[in-house]
């Protein structure tokens, strides 16, 4: 079996061993969403307007939650340093790991958004736009928070720090996504903004693994 396949298989087995890793962020999203109508005045018009944005933000936070420790346990077990001895460039392996993470940990978060949308009475067209925006934007968000996780591997309060460091990179993605949702609500053309979001994800997916591998090397060099 090639190392890429082995990495995907390992990721699936780890999820089977620690199912909480994917279910906790999913519960988190649904919990946040179910609290929104209770915290607002019971006004279904208002709910429908802000609903899609709430779901977007809740999904973003859940994604940050399950990505902040992406490399942590492999790093402290000494498994991550073994990646350097495999006959593939580290950046390539990091890319495979990020893809596996997106497939198995981030995609489930996106798949539950229709349920969340129903809870907030979001219209079908907007819900569809929301779903597509998340599909297109989350690869970039996964890459950025993965970079945050790799940069802060060596420090003890890594989670919060990694998110803070990467915050500026999340902002343009969130703004573009908000643009798509507003246009979908108006019924105007969302394609140009979606294309921009897609471009963002493609650039992130090509460049970020290189940066992540540099960060990992740096942290391995500083530890015993």
């Amino acid at each position: 079996m090639s190392i890429e396949k082995r990495m995907l298989v390992r990721e699936l087995k780890l999820i089977a061993a620690r199912p909480g890793d994917i279910f906790k962020p999913m519960w988190f999203t649904l919990l946040v969403i179910s609290m929104v109508p209770l915290a607002l005045a019971p006004d279904s018009q208002l709910l429908a307007e802000i609903g899609s944005a709430m779901i977007w933000v809740a999904t973003l936070l859940a994604l940050l939650l399950n990505t902040e420790h992406l490399f942590q346990s492999d790093f402290s077990d000494g498994v991550l340093e073994q990646w350097l001895f495999l006959d593939r460039p580290l950046a390539w392996l990091v890319g495979v790991k990020l893809i596996a993470h997106w497939l198995f940990n981030v995609l489930p978060l996106i798949l539950i958004t229709p349920v969340a949308g129903l809870m907030l009475s979001v219209s079908t067209e907007v819900l569809l736009a929301l779903f597509i925006t998340l599909l297109v934007a989350t690869p970039a968000l996964t890459c950025f928070s993965g970079l945050g996780a790799a940069l802060t591997l060596g420090s003890s309060r890594s989670g919060i720090l990694g998110v803070l460091v990467m915050m500026p990179l999340f902002v343009p993605v969130v703004i573009l996504a908000a643009g798509v949702l507003i246009r979908a609500t108006d019924g105007s053309d969302t394609l140009p903004l979606l294309a921009l979001l897609g471009a963002f994800s493609v650039i992130a997916a090509t460049l970020v693994p290189v940066a992540v591998s540099a960060a990992i090397r740096l942290n391995i060099g500083g530890s015993n």
Binding site: I3, R10, K13, L14, E81, Q82, F85, N224
Partner: protein, 202 residues
């Protein structure tokens, strides 16, 4: 199987950590069939030296070459086993081994039997004792083919029987042209090694 001749040349290597000079102007050459034990008191820089030769630490000053090539191009010829567990607790013994090698299943099974983990292939590593976890990490020495072995305290947590098995495996490895670099505080009886003493640098 016999390895092609390998040579590691370490020349004028120096390393400073936290304002302390660990080793200065260190030069060693190692060829196929040689075993080198890096010795010295705690904190002398044994792990640092091993991690530098394994390419995990950047070289501060000096040159390390493998067969006249820069070290970073030859990492796939190295097996490094450090003192971190090097295994994932939530995976089974066999799955841990599978991830790091592309050897076929029969070979992996045999490697695990060799390190005395027969009957534990499908146990999670977290259910094993520390010594058994160590055996799982060491099993790679039986199923990965790489000429250069860098072992940091490989005998830690091993019982007498397993230590002997490991000695035999190291002897077998150098007999077919491999190289072994290791550290330990319990000098093994059955190995014929050179010693590199670290410590006392001014």
């Amino acid at each position: 199987m016999i390895f092609a001749p390998v040579k590691i040349e370490i020349s004028a290597l120096s390393c400073e950590r936290d304002d302390r000079l660990l080793f200065n102007n260190l030069s060693v050459a190692l060829e196929s069939g040689q075993i080198l034990r890096v010795a010295g008191p705690n904190g002398a820089g044994k792990t640092t030296l091993l991690r530098t030769v394994a390419g995990l630490f950047g070289i501060q000053d000096g040159v390390i070459q493998v067969n006249q090539l820069p070290l970073q191009e030859c990492l796939d010829q190295i097996i490094y086993i450090g003192h971190k567990p090097q295994v994932t607790k939530d995976l089974t013994v066999l799955d841990n081994l599978k991830f790091l090698t592309d050897a076929d299943e029969a070979c992996l099974q045999k490697a695990l039997d060799n390190v005395g983990l027969k009957g534990y292939h499908d146990s999670l590593v977290k259910e094993l004792s520390q010594g058994q976890g160590r055996r799982c990490a060491l099993a790679r020495l039986w199923c990965v083919e790489a000429p250069i072995w860098i072992l940091d305290e490989p005998y830690t947590a091993l019982d007498v029987g397993m230590a002997k098995t490991l000695d035999a495996r190291i002897n077998e490895h150098v007999a077919v042209g491999g190289i072994c670099l290791f550290t330990t505080h319990q000098p093994p009886q059955q190995l014929d090694y050179q010693i590199l003493e670290l410590g006392d640098v001014d």
